[in-house]
Symmetry: C2
Subunit: 122 residues, 2 copies
């Protein structure tokens, strides 16, 4: 692995961090769509079902923000050992946002697809 290669890798890593912005909110709402989950469960569940690895420092501020915006709500429950768990679920307002966000995401994917295709001659 040359030095040039690792510089490229660093650039890509920094870029992928930027690429996640916004997407993670959609991802959380999608993951909570069917049933409530708590923080750690979200992290492991998302890692299992996709190639996304979220860290605690990423997900907890995000959950707090979503709750503040009334997209999700939480309830506290005792777990089997360890600290009490906070279960999050999607609010009605969150479902409306999820629909809008899914539409926006689909549109963005279609745009990138269109630009990936060869350009037509003018």
């Amino acid at each position: 692995m040359t030095q040039e290669q690792s510089r490229l890798d660093d650039s890509v890593a920094r870029w992928e961090t930027q690429l996640r912005k916004g997407v993670l909110e959609l991802v959380i709402l999608l993951a909570l769509r069917e049933r409530e989950k708590y923080g750690f469960e979200l992290i492991s569940g998302i890692a299992k079902r996709s190639s996304l690895e979220l860290s605690e420092g990423t997900i907890y501020p995000l959950l707090l923000r979503l709750a503040k915006d009334d997209l999700i709500k939480s309830r506290l429950a005792q777990g089997d050992g360890g600290a009490p768990r906070k279960y999050y679920s999607v609010t009605p307002h969150g479902r409306r946002m999820l629909d809008a966000m899914t539409a926006g995401w689909t549109k963005l994917v279609a745009s990138v697809d269109a630009l990936t295709a060869p350009e037509i001659d003018r």
Copy 2:
């Protein structure tokens, strides 16, 4: 259009701004992949081929950043009236980044797709 509806629209607009982060670098590189273009040509070309509307305040800082990172390079040329145009083209390093970014984008799209599908029972 109720007040609640417009609040939702505002939220979605703010979110879509975040969603573009990172994607726009990929979009520019894709748009310049086949031939050089100048700023305004990029804006109108991308708007025509996709549903993305970039503004000057968005694209010029982006182009400067890409040039600083040696992903694109520019040359100055006179246009038919108006200020001289700056034509941008992708560097070899930019092509390597474009490949890596395309791969990262594909992976992200696949992840969101996977989370959109119904969850399998545990």
